[in-house]
């Protein structure tokens, strides 16, 4: 019953998830077990890149859930992603121990530089993995809860909501740039050594992280499917299409928006936490408003309002980004902007919608 509802009734999702699962199995094998001179060998670079894309796909999923289904345009999802990343970063920093440049048993290098004597209270507990992971979920979730409660209660919607989320992520960026915050200022957190005892520079760890990202993506996808196929999911679509009708049908619209927003923020945070060990650094630049806008472009390109569309969008736009920033870095931003305009004008349902149209045409012939 549940399998039918979550997977079998969603053909596009089945294909995309199947590819993700296949990738998570085949790529690590080709990377670890195949000799480097074989034509089937997959380079470490590719493994890292795919791992990153998987995190972005999870992030796109969280944006799609809130934008595509509830119609709430958040231009601040980068804030939740980055906060999740900082949570993981703090755990990884505590794992360094006395292997830092200054060899202090407890303090981070940047704290030694600032002449701090003791560990700030909010760094306590992050040496434990479970605690760090709990914080990865709770801190962004709580921020979304408070922020969303204030915004939705005042019935802030549409463009106004988008603007204040943008302000939120910008404010966080400015705050995290400050050294006094105790998160490493503009250098952020880096120079990580190991995670759960596995060396981060080892190929097997990297492959493991990629597999973990793929699993997180699949589970996140199924959770989102569970929500959108439930009665709650239909209420959410109803809110998107006719908010006051939903309210006069007896639904407390605000609390639906709020809990969906919180869930979406936590999903973004998980993506951030998986992203950081794979790229080896987290700094306040990730909070930059531009990043949050890019996420929206991924979703728009893939096709908002279909969950697998978000995954397609995240992979295709990021692949294009890697390609173009390698060959002509200056043009990338123009391409991104142009893409957004083109998609909005000519492909309102994104790549997925386009593919669907072509398939239907093929069927008719």
């Amino acid at each position: 019953m549940l399998i039918q509802r979550l997977i079998l009734s969603d053909r596009g999702g089945m294909v995309v998830l199947g590819l993700v699962a296949l990738m998570a199995i085949v790529v690590p094998v080709l990377n670890l077990a195949v000799p480097t001179d074989s034509p089937f060998y997959v380079s470490n670079f590719t493994v890292g890149l795919l791992g990153k894309f998987l995190c972005f796909a999870l992030l796109a999923l969280s944006v799609d859930l809130i934008w595509g289904y509830a119609g709430i345009l958040s231009l601040g999802h980068g804030a939740f992603f980055t906060l999740g990343g900082y949570g993981m970063g703090m755990y990884l920093m505590r794992q360094i121990g006395d292997r830092g440049v200054y060899g202090h048993p407890e303090l981070m290098d940047f704290m030694v530089v600032l002449n701090w004597e003791t560990l700030p209270w909010y760094w306590q507990g992050f040496d434990m993995f479970w605690f760090a992971m709990l914080m990865v979920l709770l801190v962004p979730g709580l921020l979304a809860l408070v922020f969303g409660w204030l915004a939705f209660r005042s019935r802030v919607t549409g463009v106004y909501f988008a603007i204040i989320t943008q302000a939120l992520t910008y404010a966080l960026m400015l705050a995290f740039f400050r050294n006094e915050m105790g998160f490493g200022g503009n250098n952020g957190l880096n120079d990580f050594k190991d995670i759960l005892g596995f060396e981060l520079s080892a190929n097997s760890t990297r492959a493991g992280l990629m597999i973990a990202s793929a699993i997180a993506l699949i589970l996140g996808y199924l959770a989102c499917r569970y929500i959108v196929t439930s009665r709650m999911g239909r209420v959410i679509v109803a809110i998107r299409d006719a908010e006051s009708r939903t309210r006069f049908s007896g639904y407390q619209v605000e609390s639906y928006k709020l809990w969906l927003f919180v869930f979406s923020a936590m999903l973004a945070a998980v993506a951030g936490a998986l992203y950081v060990p794979q790229v080896g650094i987290i700094n306040p630049g990730e909070f930059s408003p531009l990043n949050s806008i890019e996420m929206v472009v991924w979703v728009a390109t893939g096709g908002r309002g279909t969950l697998f569309g978000a995954l397609v969008g995240a992979f295709s736009v990021n692949y294009a980004k890697t390609f173009f920033t390698t060959f002509s870095p200056e043009t990338w931003l123009f391409i991104l902007g142009g893409l957004f305009v083109l998609v909005t004008l000519f492909m309102p349902k994104g790549l997925v919608g386009l593919a669907g149209r072509l398939l239907r045409k093929g069927d008719k012939k």
């Binding site: 209420v235 049908s249 007896g250 809990w259």
Partner: protein
């Protein structure tokens, strides 16, 4: 001084106070022992100095079908906004039955509690199917967690089937609501009110833009609802009002100008002056 007076007031023994009684819950039976189900008293609303409602008094009996007419700007839609909790009045009171103060409730509570509202422009959830539209409106627990984990019960589905027959959309139940005709959307919205099991239905211009045949069908539907529900219809179409009305209230400049049967109202010189005599 004031507190002592209040204290003394509460010691009087010839009176029952609300707070000694169990709190009035919306899900309990609405107390209509005195006749009316809706008491709208002395309601005033102004927007930037313009008085949309001016000391409006209106009593709706349980099971009654009431038509409300009036020229544009008479305050008909504002009145609905106030009853359903969308607009808070500057003064006055609205009671649902004897004991429920509607001004203290929010929109979704009022809707769950048994007051359904149809908008002027047909408003349905266009991306969802006809069945799903009714499913969402169906009376049930409507909090986030419950809707995430529970589907409708068999009884609720039966009720939806019944309403589908009533509004004549049984064959269309699978169809996307956005693809329905204008009249069918109007009926679907009325159906969405019905599955809420409301005590009071507020219907704003139900026949606007309908063909003659559709108007007739709508009139039939609304009159069949009276008795089981109290129905308040706001309408411009006088022929339609005449065909369904038993009692008509004429609003003018935010207050009641006349009330009575259609004939009485039509012969009222003041009504002729402001409205019918145009």
């Amino acid at each position: 001084m004031k507190t002592t007076e209040q204290l003394r007031e509460t010691w009087r023994r010839d009176q029952v106070f609300d707070f000694v009684q169990p709190a009035p819950a919306f899900d309990s039976v609405v107390d209509t022992t005195h006749g009316p189900i809706l008491y709208v008293e002395n309601i005033s609303v102004s927007f930037d100095g313009f008085k949309a409602l001016n000391n409006l008094d209106l009593y709706i009996d349980d099971g009654e079908l009431r038509c409300i007419i009036g020229p544009n700007g008479a305050g008909k839609t504002t009145m609905m906004d106030v009853i359903t909790g969308k607009t808070k009045p500057d003064s006055g009171s609205i009671w649902f039955g004897q004991r429920i103060d509607l001004l203290k409730r929010s929109e979704h509570e009022i809707a769950r509690g048994g007051i359904g509202r149809k908008f002027q422009k047909p408003t349905v959830f266009e991306a969802l199917s006809v069945f799903e539209n009714l499913e969402l409106a169906t009376a049930s627990r409507k909090n986030v967690w419950y809707t995430l984990n529970h589907d409708l019960s068999g009884e609720q589905r039966d009720r939806i089937d019944e309403v589908l027959r009533q509004i004549g959309l049984t064959e269309h139940y699978h169809q996307e609501a956005g693809a329905l005709s204008h009249g069918q959307k109007q009926w679907l919205e009325i159906g969405m009110l019905l599955v809420q099991n409301p005590r009071v239905l507020l219907v704003d211009e139900p026949v606007a833009g309908m063909t003659g045949e559709e108007v007739e069908k709508t009139a039939e539907l609304l009159t069949s609802l009276a008795g089981r529900h109290s129905v308040i219809v706001v309408e411009h179409d006088m022929a339609f009002v005449r065909s369904i009305a038993r009692k008509v209230t004429v609003l003018h400049q935010g207050s009641v100008l006349a009330e009575g049967s259609m004939d009485q109202v039509q012969n009222n010189p003041r009504v002729i002056e402001v409205y019918l005599g145009e």
